[in-house]
Amino acid sequence: MGSDKKLTINGREHVVPAPDGMPLLWVLRDLLKLRGTKFGCGKALCGACTVHLDGVAVRSCVLPVERAVGKSVRTIEGLGDERLHPLQDAWLDHQVSQCGYCQSGQLMAAASLLERNPNPTSAEIDAEMSGILCRCGTYPRIRAAILSVAEKMMRAAGADAS
């Protein structure tokens, strides 16, 4: 039941008494007080709870905590370090957020996409980002922000190569 789980979150180890089957989302929010990861639907339908598990975007609201043991979890609190992640900067440049509630999930999904694929096609952006709902309707700005970061990354890569 309340067996201790050893979790690595944003590079830090935590030992947390969480029962098997408790979704990672609630372990993060209610037990570890990392409240940047959001609850939206509880059924992996809206993506507000998206975090990275070994670099891959997953829906933490349906991920039993035991499946995160021994893996690296990254949340919105660990997306940037002292400086903002380039996507966070782009989000501010494009003034993406409205109510902001879904944006942790949007950012984590976008970061996972660009880490795997720095130069995504429009269809690849669609495929990744269509899993995350935004009721305020910030999608056009999310697309613009992702494209601006991808473009900068490609330009930087091009400059390195030359």
């Binding site: 609630w26 209610d30 037990l31 990861t37 959001k38 903002l84 409205q98 109510c99 902001g100 309707g137």
Partner: protein, 729 residues
């Protein structure tokens, strides 16, 4: 405008009186030291000449905002208005949520502190400027006294006062002296000419932008208090249901569960954290007795009754000429019906509220559109005096009307849970699941619009009769002041003030009380009336062989009060390349509408292949008067269109035995990233007073898209959502 009181928000008031502003501005100094006295005012660290502004000795300027920030950008926009008039340095400016206090009452809503109907900028634009001008005058007087010069010889810029010889005193340095002065009367204030604005009209980033991309805990659901317990409620499936049986002991044995209590809305499970509460709730196995629940209707039954009601005239909202006579004698009469289903607000942050009792009252944390009522309801439920209830408004993870319930349902429920488990001596956080939210039983009213028009040989209408059937969110509620002569203004808005030139007109409304409980949803009744009117006018245009834009133009032209509406119609048509040929299977549709003073026109361009609809582009031209934050306005228009497309394409709450069939985003889908069209926004520069923007671009999208589908295919859809018609989107 109503004087909403001259109370002071700080306990230690030094001055009182509503000297400035149309809304009586609270005047008083907020002391940072407990037990400060009038004499100690000179040592205070902050200066709050008004309810709306606080300046500290370190130069920080805080705009104190009554309306809730739910994504619409009101914190930033009102802070911009304040900063501009104050001549503050924008980098020193922040915004914070006000307490619940009559000083922040909305005069358009009976002085209640309510964030409704896109009224925040129209209502507070002037008052914010007056507050800033008064504060600035006091700072200037303080500086002038130090220098021994006339205040009129000084100037202000970037958070400082400058003397005629160029000496500078920063606002922060002047706080102790300014605090001793009285605010000048409103008549003595000189507001800037718009040509002097340096912040208003520039695109400014939202003040809380960084918090929202770094996951800072700023929402109601993020509230965390020592010893806090979390509750979740097994809620009655329909109003009037009673508990027949449930497995209390089984739920109590579930790990982490501390209490199981019956409350008026259902059975609450209180636990150490949300997951434990939810696990406990699942073990309740509640059986409900529906025998006292009254009629349990299906949506189809509600619609049939609505249709029957629409055959007779309802309460009169508008009447001119002889519409009945003209319709009876005309050769060509068209009659159509347009139906909109119930829909749920479904803000991304599920509903929640946290209440904590203290020896001197109680604290309530939540995202809310309606602080006045929250305070009243919490006080009544917990048996404390309202002045001992402190409402802490959090950022709202969306709302769209849901967090402005006319009975403060979530606050009431949370306070009831707390009252039932007082022995635990713990703050209670009440969390709704998504299913609770979708089934939560407060929906945009289902609406049936029956439209009839007689047309002359030229194809233009000679008489127009519009009968609306929709339950009223206002009758018998705190918002009853919006009902006059039996007509809820929010149910007939956009219809009773039909802008088109028709000599004989009748608009009437039936507001039956059966069916689902209802509540305003972003753009209120205009979503329904605009869909009906802009679809019907499109049908009439095509019927007479007229171009839909040209037809509307002719019906608007000739009335000077339609000038701004005509302009947005022209601009939208132009920007969307209206009239350019399109390949087969593609079409454009238009809609034009005035939403409570904000005029907009939209052109949608769609592609239809078989039953598959793809919306490629929506172009919106919009005139909301003076624009405070242009990029913020554009963002609202983009968001409003996407919000409206969810309703147009997919949105439906269907009743079965009185309860919603839908429960989560699988059966209540929203528009997703890949289906989002290109959106182009044309802002009309204007010197007219600012009108609202949060909702103003919602009503047009559905009729523009449906008109475009007709243009592409000849198929006319008169019912929302589109997928109900067998189409895919």
């Amino acid at each position: 405008m109503k004087d909403v009181g001259s109370r002071v928000i700080s306990r230690r008031s030094l001055l009182a009186g509503g000297a400035c502003g149309a809304v009586a501005l609270v005047v008083g100094f907020r002391l940072t030291e407990a037990g400060g006295t009038a004499r100690r005012a000179t040592t205070q660290a902050s200066f709050q000449p008004h309810a709306f502004v606080r300046i500290t000795t370190d130069g920080n300027v805080t705009a104190i905002i009554g309306p809730a920030e739910m994504g619409q950008g009101v914190f930033t926009a009102l802070a911009m208005v304040l900063a501009d008039e104050l001549d503050a340095n924008w980098k020193d400016v922040t915004a914070e949520a006000s307490p619940a206090d009559p000083a922040y009452g909305n005069p358009l809503f009976g002085g209640l502190q309510a964030t409704n109907a896109s009224t925040s900028i129209p209502v507070f634009y002037d008052s914010m400027r007056h507050a800033a001008a008064a504060a600035k005058a006091m700072l200037v007087s303080a500086a002038a006294a130090r220098w021994g010069v006339a205040p009129s010889a000084c100037r202000t810029s970037e958070g400082a006062v400058f003397s005629p010889d160029g000496s500078r005193l920063a606002y922060g340095e002047l706080v102790p002296d300014a605090s001793k002065l009285s605010p000048p009367p409103k008549e003595a204030l000189r507001l800037k000419d718009p040509s002097e604005f340096r912040i208003i009209g520039r695109s400014m980033p939202r003040l809380e932008g960084r918090a929202k991309v770094t996951g800072r805990p700023i929402y109601g659901l993020d509230v965390d208090l020592p010893h806090m317990l979390t509750a979740t409620v097994a809620r009655k499936p329909v109003p009037g249901a009673r508990v027949k049986s449930y497995r209390r002991e089984t739920a109590l044995r579930s790990p982490g569960v501390r209490a199981v209590v019956e409350i008026p809305s259902g059975i609450a499970v209180v636990a150490d954290h949300f997951w434990a509460a939810l696990q406990g709730r699942q073990k309740l196995s509640v059986e409900w007795d529906l025998s006292a629940a009254g009629e349990l209707l299906s949506s189809e039954e509600v619609e049939q009754r609505y249709r029957a009601l629409a055959q007779s005239p309802g309460a009169v909202a508008a009447h001119r000429g002889e519409p009945a006579l003209e319709l009876a004698r005309a050769q060509n009469v068209f009659e159509r019906e347009y139906v909109l289903p119930y829909i749920a607000h479904a803000p991304m942050e599920p509903l929640n509220c946290t209440v904590h009792e203290t020896p001197d009252g109680c604290d309530v944390w939540l995202g809310t559109q309606y602080q006045s009522l929250d305070k009243k309801v919490a006080a009544k439920t917990l048996g404390v005096s309202p002045d001992r209830v402190r409402i802490h408004t959090q950022y709202l993870g969306g709302s769209f009307g849901r967090r402005g319930s006319p009975d403060a349902d979530v606050v009431k429920e949370t306070a009831e849970i707390l009252a039932a488990v007082r022995a635990l001596k713990a703050p209670i956080r009440n969390v709704w699941t998504r299913e609770d939210d979708i089934r939560g039983g407060l929906y945009r009213p289902m609406a049936l619009n029956r439209l009839r028009a007689s047309v002359g040989t030229d194809g233009f209408p000679t008489a127009w009769a519009h009968t609306i059937v929709a339950r009223s969110p206002c009758i018998d509620s705190e918002f009853a002041f919006l009902v006059a002569d039996g007509v809820d203004a929010t149910n007939v808005a956009g219809a009773k003030d039909l802008p088109y030139a028709v000599a004989n007109l009748s608009v009437d409304v039936h507001q039956p009380s059966f069916g689902a409980s209802v509540q305003w949803l972003r753009a209120v009744g205009n979503s329904s009336t605009c869909f009906a009117i802009e679809s019907f006018i499109d049908e009439l245009a095509h019927q007479g062989g007229h171009d839909p834009v040209e037809y509307r133009r002719q019906l608007l032209d000739g009335d000077s009060k339609n000038a701004r509406l005509l302009q947005v119609l022209e601009l939208a048509a132009q920007a969307a390349n209206w009239g350019d040929a399109l390949p087969t299977g593609r079409g454009r549709g238009v809609a034009v509408h005035d939403y409570w003073g904000t005029k907009a026109a939209q052109v949608a361009e769609v592609e239809v292949k078989g039953d598959q609809v793809r919306i490629d582009r929506v172009t919106c031209a919009i005139d909301c008067g003076l624009v405070v934050n242009p990029d913020g306005v554009k963002a609202q228009v983009e968001g409003a269109i996407i919000f409206a497309l969810s309703a147009a394409l997919y949105g439906e709450i269907a009743l079965e035995n009185g309860a919603a069939k839908q429960s989560n985003f699988d059966d209540y889908p929203l528009l997703r990233f890949d289906a989002t069209p290109q959106i182009d926004v044309v802002l009309v520069p204007s010197k007219e007073p600012p009108s609202g923007i949060g909702e103003a671009a919602v009503p047009h999208a559905a009729p523009a898209v449906f008109n475009a589908i007709f243009a592409a295919t000849g198929r006319r859809v008169r019912r929302l959502p589109l997928i109900r018609d067998g189409m895919k989107a």
